[in-house]
Amino acid sequence: MSVASASLDHDGRSGGALNADALRADARRESHGTLALLSPGLLLVFAVIIVPIGWLFWLSLFDETGQLSASNYARFFEQASYIKTFVTTFKVAFVVTGACVLFGYPLAYMLSQLPRRAAGVCLIFVILPFWTSVLVRTYAWLVILQRKGLVNTWLMDLGVISQPLPLANNFAGVVIGMTHIMLPFLVLPLYASMKSIDTDCLRAAMNLGASPSATFRQIFLPLSLPGLASGVVIVFVLCLGFFVTPALMGGGKVIMWAMRMEQTTSLYSNWGAGAALGVVLLAVTLALLGLFHRLLGARATGVWSRR
């Protein structure tokens, strides 16, 4: 009996160990398999993202004579216009992101509440401009907003204003043009997240006596925040690299970082001068994104990782 139980015990233990070994081997095989399956993607990421960024960073460390130097970075502090441009870039990005939230949230909310067919039609109006060339849209805004453009002509004909409003070739023009271009980037993820909110939650809240506004504030708004957060991040980061719209709508008075890169690259006879600008923008953007993740907390981050 004892022998039998011992042998059984022994068998059982060895069976368990065998099993664990097999499982471990299996897990290893599986992770190797996953890695092998992922490797083309990883290689691609390495080749098209890691290597160029590394190269960019490397280039930024050399001056015109090919000597290792910090002169490309020192320039930011020696020449006042760089800091100014950097501040302008973030100012534009903040204002445009804010304007996108202001217009985009109600729009996405409306879309999410409309019957399916009406929402589909309205979505086309969001997506159509999204497919139109940025250059074309920017020039269109110039035609609409300039001193003798549509808006000013109409307002003056109606007697609302006596002097044309300064809407183009300045900060306001840049913000208007960029907000229009950026809006779909906010509305689309926000709409998707609003559509996925369980309407039973809203019904339950109202059933329990919450007013429509309380239901919106306490149930809908918090549930839509993760979608808003991802929209905001996309818009903000895209704004930081904008070139065409500020170049055309800013009248040379709103210089953003990407425009500065173009100027610097053609002014200095080494790629490092321009590369340094790219490195700084990348570093600051990543730092801001990190901060954003932390500030928005686990909920928004959790939703991102679940996607």
């Binding site: 216009s81 003798k148 070739n169 040379g252 690259t265 053609s266 002014l267 006879s269």
Partner: protein
Amino acid sequence: MTKRLCIHGMAVAGLLASVAVPASAADTITVASWGGTYQEAQTKAFFDPTAKDLGITIKQDTTNGLDDVRLQVTGNAVKWDITELGADECARGSKEGLFEKLDYNVIDKSGINPKLVHDDWVGISYTSVVLIYRTDVFGDKGPKTWADFWDVEKFPGRRALSGSQSTETLSVAALAKGIPIDKVYPVDIDGALQSVDKIRGHIDAWWTSGAQAMQLVKDGEVDMASIWNGRAGTLKKEGAPVSFTFDQGVLTADCMVIPKGSKNKDIAMKALAKFVSPDLQANLPLYVDNGPANEKAFETGKIPPERIKDINSSPENVKKQVLQDPAFWRDTLVEATEKFNNLIQQ
């Protein structure tokens, strides 16, 4: 600096046209210029007659300027045998050693301003920066000089200057201080910057491309501006209510170079010699407002007398203008441009 006029369709059209003529590979050269109507004019004035004369094929491409040449030469991937650049770019590229030496036994330099004849680059045409104003605002009593442009009380109105071509804006700023045209160079950069400082609060737009300058004036966004004469001429031809003269204009030269490492250097040299010859140079103003770099072109009799007065580099008009000195900007451009940017981006 860079003039973005690229219309790639032109280059493609040129390419197709040139492919039609059979020639051995060794007898084919590639020439890059700014594209657009300018390159179209160059094709008729320079490229086609040269190809016919030398029995070679000239392929065309478009350039964005010195950056492109630098990329090709330093990357050991030279695909152009001749390329056009702004004269200050030629001077800078020469300092960097990006070009092949030119053989002036092959190229006849007589008739070209000595300031535009160098070891490794040569002038090809002229653009002028002129003062344009809208006649529907000022009638014929608009600002005639840069001092007028700077006088915001006598000439109220909206203004635009170039924000990208610092050399040109600094030159007109020096003229605005009352410096006579023959004393502008060497430019007193700090003095010119002070002059820019005086006007910058009254500038409604700093343009960064020729097309933008044209649009600002055409749409009435500004009442007066600095503008390239080719663009100004186009506006006038289109019937826009504008007026401009060559008085106190700033003559800026374009130049041509053979990028270092060109595989068809010898043929390129012969082609370049043709391009700058008085005979072909005289063709250019028949198609476009950019004047010839070789003043002997005016003696060929090819250019109708009534056309000569409209050409910026005619002997008569040259006297009224400042000639930009590329050698001066070669050494001062970077510092001056940074200071200029600091000032206008404040």
